[in-house]
Symmetry: C2
Subunit: 353 residues, 2 copies
């Protein structure tokens, strides 16, 4: 884990190329020359006014997100390579959350003169790895200069057959509420990284042993989108009735499904999957691990609802946890703890203005 | 024209709503509630993880651009309403440049705490007007906070029939080089606005008479994408052999067509269409109007090549000027002036790092 900090130190010493040595077009060419088109639906990529797609009769899906230094990420502990990877994960997760397959991405970046060519290349190493692992074609975008910091804007296009698309609005009363993986890890990792940043400021020579926190730090710095869950659902011939990805925290996402589908939800606290390492970190920071799962966000797991009759297909699956069920909309959305107490769910969500 | 400055002064006095009173979701809902879907191909818009499109058998086109305060625009003379409008024009112009029809847009915005709700609403008034005038559906995007200034990232999707798509790579020797409208106006307008900004700093009570510069200022602040030219080409049953829009200046765009199509170009100086007002402004600023057309940029006109046999269809058309022709790639790209001198074209283009 120490290597995260080493990466940054190294970058400050090697010989570097100012971006002013290249123009915009040369920079784009340089950064994208090794990206080859992988999907049949990508007719043409970078190099014209627009890219051309050919999804045949299948619907096309699009999602877009902007990531801003100082608001969405902190480069003092986020290596640029990881940032590039994570930026793609954040976006393709939205397409998986529609039960669809992401296929093309466009990337716009703006950087201040603090960044040199090697730094931008690092970012693209992460982007290229994400494209490789998830079979994505980079088909467009632009680069420009910013007055402050690094800004990334990514759009992702995907497709699937009409009947497989899952929106937020199809949950029915008594449907099961299911989540993939485990929750709260990205938030726990962030606590560790923020603490190490503070230590590093006081003592730049500190060599922290972060091996006990490896899982949580990885959840924060290098999350994976749940392609495997979408593939699993396909294999099991399950089409969820509603689905969303967990970017803002379980609580906020349940409320989104509730509103779109017009149902309430009962969520059982003891069913929420939390990794033991995350529990230990929460203890260390005197945080409630349920709160980390409910409001922490950035886990990029999938939250979905299933018909009761599909339960046998997913029962005891290591990826998937049934954490509650949909109920009458009038009863609203509640967390039910071990004592049977009902606590109303509220959206802490995202509030950075 | 004075009203451009008044707008800004007014904004400082009225009662304003801090964005912190709304969350991200409430802000998005508030800003987008009056955008209704207009295109059959827009299956669903804002409100899920991704938007869904259905372009049937037609190819989908996508283009994306980021606009950053301080790099791409200056709010001291660019009213937010105009910025919203222009941001859309810049993007849809890329789709028209493929001889295609823009249909959907996504918008991500990030604002610092300097901006209040009313300011962001003004931006969306301009965006809504552009969507109305050009029949565009707003189908996605996000809002977030920035540490400094305003950042806009826009993606636009379009479609057309396969055989109508025009790329940059189809120009052949002897094809005619044609440009729509006139050039250099946006650059001339920028000179005027920069001068008035400097005057305004010294004397905030100055009431400049900008009526002699109305056309050029409008070219800078409220450009229109050339939908009409694409419709005209369709009516005339002309499919250009190559096409690009003029965002960086005529010179840079000719070089793009040259490189992609592997042809040279001869450009005749006296054929370059320049509005009389633009010539007068260039005189006033001791600038060469040809240079403004070649390197000024931001005109968002369309530059394309035609087969010689299509010449009769466009001859004397008020929108269109034949300004040169494609030639042997070995001879390269040249401006030929009234004396017959050949001057090699170079890409000044965009260099802001």
């Amino acid at each position: 884990m120490y290597s995260y900090f080493c990466d940054m130190l190294e970058n400050k010493n090697a010989s570097k190329t100012p971006l002013s040595e290249l123009g915009e077009f040369a920079l784009i060419n340089h950064l994208t020359k090794n990206f080859k088109l992988k999907n049949k639906s990508s007719s043409t990529g970078i190099g014209d006014d627009a890219a051309i797609l050919q999804h045949g009769k299948e619907p096309t899906l699009i999602s877009t997100d902007m990531l801003i230094e100082g608001t969405h990420f902190d480069l003092s502990y986020m290596p640029l390579k990881h940032l590039g990877y994570k930026a793609i994960m954040v976006n393709i997760s939205d397409i998986y959350a529609m039960n669809s397959i992401p296929k093309q991405i466009t990337i716009s970046i703006a950087v201040s003169n603090r960044f040199n060519l090697e730094a931008v290349e690092e970012l693209y190493v992460g982007i290229a790895l994400a494209c490789k692992n998830y079979k994505l074609d980079l088909i467009g975008g632009d680069t420009s200069s910013s007055t402050k910091g690094l800004i990334l804007s990514i759009s992702v296009l995907g497709s699937t057959s009409e009947k497989k698309i899952v929106k937020r609005d199809g949950a029915k009363e008594n449907d099961l509420l299911v989540v993939s993986g485990d929750l709260g890890g990205a938030y726990a990792g962030l606590q560790i990284l923020e603490r190490e940043k503070a230590v590093f400021k006081v003592n730049p020579n500190s060599q922290p042993d972060l091996s006990n926190y490896a899982y949580s730090i990885e959840r924060q710095l290098k999350p994976e989108a749940r392609k495997d869950v979408i593939e699993l659902l396909d294999e099991l011939e399950i089409i969820p009735t509603s689905m969303i990805d967990i970017s803002d925290g379980l609580s906020s996402e349940i409320l989104h499904l509730s509103k779109a589908s017009n149902v309430g939800f009962n969520l059982f606290e003891e069913k929420i999957p939390i990794d033991p390492e995350v529990s230990l970190i929460c203890d260390e920071f005197k945080l409630n691990s349920t709160t980390a799962a409910l409001n922490g966000g950035e886990d990029y797991e999938l939250l979905f609802t299933l018909r009761q009759e599909d339960f046998d297909k997913i029962k005891n699956h290591p990826f998937l946890s049934v954490i509650g069920h949909a109920c009458d909309p009038k009863s609203g959305c509640h967390l039910i703890n071990g004592l049977g107490n009902q606590i109303k769910l509220t959206a802490q969500g995202w509030k950075s203005f």
